[in-house]
Symmetry: C2
Amino acid sequence: MDDINGPQSDYGRGNGKFLPLVPAQAPLRADAQRNRRKILDAATDLLADKGVDGLTMDELARRAGVGKGTLYRNFTDKPGIASALLDDRVRDMHSRMLQGPPPLGPGAPGGERLTAFVDAYLRHIAGNLDLVLLTESSSPKGRFDRQSYPFWRRHVEILIAEMWTATAPEASDANPSDPVRTRAEAVMAVLSAAQLDQWLNRQGRTLEELIPQIQTIVSAIAAA
Amino acid sequence: MDDINGPQSDYGRGNGKFLPLVPAQAPLRADAQRNRRKILDAATDLLADKGVDGLTMDELARRAGVGKGTLYRNFTDKPGIASALLDDRVRDMHSRMLQGPPPLGPGAPGGERLTAFVDAYLRHIAGNLDLVLLTESSSPKGRFDRQSYPFWRRHVEILIAEMWTATAPEASDANPSDPVRTRAEAVMAVLSAAQLDQWLNRQGRTLEELIPQIQTIVSAIAAA
DNA sequence: TTCCGATCCGGACTATAGTCCGTATATGGA
DNA sequence: TCCATATACGGACTATAGTCCGGATCGGAA
């Protein structure tokens, strides 16, 4: 999620349902809210029409009936728009992770939850590869700057910590040099969209064949 | 290496010293050869002068005293130039891997060679982060398209295969769905420049603190 | 030495992301 | 209702990567 104070997004608003990654923000003015909606809708259409390559900022502004300045007022950049679109598609998975039934949700042992997460995450990425790649493009940091990244990583971190200690997960907080955190980041690197794209679209492998192999690798990292 | 039939580069020329990734190519015309040199030299200067951000194609063409068409005749794109520059800096490491003393070179067990490789590779990436990031930027595929990627991956693949079978390494050739290959690719994902940049420059960690943790993770993946 | 085709060169041109800022509009208080 | 001001809007503008093609140049053959 890269959009600025978007009221349509529950993610990161600190309402308790999601990780409070971002402080609440003043509500948008009514016209801004309308425009934001128009842009997102136009982006969805344009994407359906012409695919990711056809999604240019000029065309998007034209279709949404707004100026480019408005685009950039509502979204930091092009990947930011992709992020906002993805947000919608991901919210459901977030809540299943945080409050759904096990093994994806709480209630199962860390190892099983991790396996369930890897499965769900890979399918999510694979199902939205174009958008995710767009999100991760633009600068090396791409992948890490989107707000969803910290969410995923933190989830993995907590699960690994649980596997290690079998106690309360909050132990692994805060400290970036924590080996648990490093492992979580390594897991996320293996699950990166660029890597998945390589496997799926360049090597022609299938998700079904890939997932078990990746599961094995991820488990090994977690247990390392 | 992304440059077209570059006579200054031994890498990938199929001369037996390096993996024959690319067939030999007709030699460049004398003027083209001169221009290629001028461009590479100018790029080095420009990089020293203004850093990666100052390295624009127009300015590079101006400094090299050639037109932009010449730039793009000699190098596929901007990352390609970065690749060519990196090539020079990496050739030494390649030969140490292939014919230097153990544990980096042949003669040590696969596990030890892998550890030595991870150490050398991370230091290489860290020492050239700007260039490598430039190389990997531009499109998701970035990281995989440069010719050095197959080289590294293959090396890791061979070492892992050796760890597994303790026999001749050529078993793992060719087949992209080979689990050994998947593991090698996972290792490379963890060692990606974007990830290292995240750790080093965004989280402020140090190489010395990071390397042992990564070693552990890589070993776990290899043994998975 | 001269000639000819293959190869290469230069720089104007296109496409696109992202910036800037003068103008317009919304919103809350008097 | 009207005003003041913070906020938002639009679209021209800048910066940059990469394309295109007419003309120049190379280098081997006669």
